[in-house]
């Protein structure tokens, strides 16, 4: 055991091995984070060519801005839709994949394929497929339902389209973890439950879900991060935050304020707030799950 805890001959060796990681972290994570924090107390012109210290004015401005509050509400609604939607659909798909007997790996491959597509590429292709006037999907959807769809103009439709694409994009990631978790459930449990005559859906919700709950917690956390940060390319390429701010998520808004509208100071403040929001959310999720998650034994 002692050998196990002391894998290196000297502290120097351990330190030297840590150094590259540490340098990368400092250069690309901690330094920018500190710089962002500093900039959030400044007002800037362009990308910081003129900086004036303004104290908490950027924060006050944001918290009193109606546009920013709307963006916060939209981001939370979007995250809720994406996290819940992704988990429900991927749980269902994973359960089917878990149960299926033939062609198992082909199905799995197909299910996780979308995840291999870069988000920006997916967004560009889907924009054309779902385009209100030119899109093939929209064309047939309109022909089938008789509805007139225009998500370039209607806010709720745009929100729905981006949320669906965001869920679709994240399915593969969830399915990989869920199928693995389901396969880890002891076969004996499945067999004895089957002998007791437990139905398929009851089996999923009463037997499997509690047993794979650690994976579910992990996915809730990762999906939340994804919904808040990873969906930027979708918004940027599909809606640019529109129509009329219906999809103006915090991550997109701060990017636009910084790089399109040239208010780096304000955008830094937004970045800090977003960081705090997601950290608190993470903490709450993990605290809540502590009492509800089954970690075995």
């Amino acid at each position: 055991m002692a050998e196990y805890t002391k894998p290196y001959d000297s502290k120097l060796q351990a330190g030297a091995l840590l150094l590259p990681t540490f340098v990368v972290l400092v250069a690309f994570l901690y330094y920018p984070a500190v710089e962002t924090f500093r900039l959030s107390f400044h007002q800037t012109l362009l990308l910081g060519t003129k900086q004036t210290f303004v104290g908490v004015a950027n924060y006050v401005g944001l918290l009193t801005s109606e546009a920013y509050r709307t963006s916060v509400i939209i981001s939370f609604a979007f995250a809720a839709a994406v996290v819940v939607g992704t988990l429900l659909v991927s749980l269902f798909v994973s359960y089917l994949l878990f149960e299926v007997e033939a062609w198992e790996s082909s199905y799995l491959l197909v299910a996780i394929w979308p995840y291999a597509l870069p988000t920006a590429v997916a967004a560009t292709i889907l924009t054309f497929m779902l385009h209100p006037n030119l899109g093939i999907v929209t064309h047939y959807l309109e022909a089938l339902t008789g509805l007139s769809l225009d998500w370039f103009t209607s806010g709720p439709q745009a929100f729905l389209v981006v949320a669906i694409v965001a869920i679709w994009k994240q399915l593969g990631y969830n399915i990989i973890f869920l199928v693995a978790a389901l396969n880890n459930v002891p076969k004996t449990l499945t067999e004895s439950a089957q002998l007791d005559g437990v139905g398929r859906l009851t089996m999923l919700y009463r037997v499997y879900v509690p047993l794979i709950s650690p994976t579910l917690v992990f996915l809730v956390v990762m999906n939340t991060i994804y919904a808040f940060f990873g969906t930027f390319p979708l918004v940027d390429l599909m809606t640019s935050g529109g129509p009329n701010n219906a999809t103006n998520l915090l991550i997109f808004k701060l990017y636009r304020d910084a790089f399109a509208f040239n208010s780096l100071g304000k955008a830094s403040a937004e970045s800090v707030i977003l960081f705090v929001i997601v950290s608190v959310l993470m903490y709450l999720q993990l605290r809540f799950s502590d009492s509800h998650t089954h970690y075995g034994a």
Binding site: L47, P214, F218, V221, P243, Y295
Partner: protein
Amino acid sequence: MTANRSRRKFIKGAGAATIAGLAGCTGDGGSDGSSGDGSSGDGSSGDGTTAGSTGSETVSLRFWHAMGGDLGKLIDSMVSDFASQADGIEMTATQKGSYRETLNATTSAVQAGNPPAIAQIFEIGTQLAIDSGVFAPVEDIIPSDVNFDNYLDSVLNYYRINGKLNSMPFNSSNAIFYYNKNAFEEAGLDPENPPTTFQGITDAANTLTEAGVVDKGTTWPNHSWFVEQWFAEQGQTLVNKKNGRTGRADKIHLESEASKNIFNWWADLYNQDQYLNPGIEAWSEAQQAFLTQKVGILGYSTSSIAPMKQGAKDNGFELGTMRLPTPGGQREGVVIGGASLWSPADISEAKKQAAGKFLAWLTKPEQQKRWHTNTGYFPVREEAISELENEGFYEENPNFTTAIEQLRETKDSPATRGALMGPFTQIRTMVEEGYVNMIQNENRSVTDVLNKVDSDAEDALASYNQKAN
């Protein structure tokens, strides 16, 4: 159990690290989703070409631009032509992404102390570029033998601020409308006599759809640029202080009659199902709808005459061009759009001189003719136009004439010189979102939306002016 516990820890750690990472360098967000204004390529890519002599006394220049595709290739080839005829100058042209990305890349490079000698900046970034204080007026670096009398006034007037030419106009364009001659003929409209007014467009659109030759009459990108052109045509300045040219603008005229004329007509066109909404600044979607003959009329930029003509030919119809339609046929003139070339103040004297030489060379008639005929962007020199006229170019390519005539008819006034303001990009987005807001909900009146956008835009102006002063 230990395995689960450690995974649990890993989750916590990974989660925290990911948040910290993503929040810390939000700037990276742009690089994997950069869309910009239609051009591609990420900020750090170096798909440029280097050319020129490699002697010991060579000055090497970097030219950053936002032109993708064929335009980018044309620039590469012009740059290498320049370098091969200039002694001791080596030059590299690099596309830095969209206009916005090019501006950001340039300012960052200036701050890092390693700027390019020449950067292409879009027209609405002009005030921002001046306020950033990192650029030197090009008038000071252009060789003294260059005679500005031969440059088109309408082009120079946009970039001449307080009597000084700050940047060299390079790719200038304005808005014209394209139409499908075959569709016009089928619908019984005169293909040689396109509409010239707002009402004319509405009527033509209705005739086209009634004849069943297209789905909807017309489209153009939901872009504030068209609105700005229509302001100018009506002789209305966009902002006060003579369009921001005699002082910092703090009032915007979106609540003016001219503005209501534009938005009432545009919203009405949508409500009549005659305007296909391609999306905000959606150039390629609008073009696509026109080329696939879903619409018969397209509002677009003069910069695409050459490719548009080819596109129409590929899709089996004949392309026509018309001047920008205006309310009641008022024609004060149009505003020059596009971009100009800037040179940072903080570069060596040798580089400044070499950059000046390049700019002078680039705007010579010969180069301007090549640029104009291959794209549709205006030449910035009178001689280029007259030489092309003598060569019979415009007779063979009548579509190019529309744009030139529109430019020549333009009267010089504060309205047609175009607006200068710091938060121009932000205000453009506000105007575009304002239009979406109008058509989203029929109960919302055009005037209410305009008043709202007007006051939001004035807030943005005030906050920028406070920062810049």
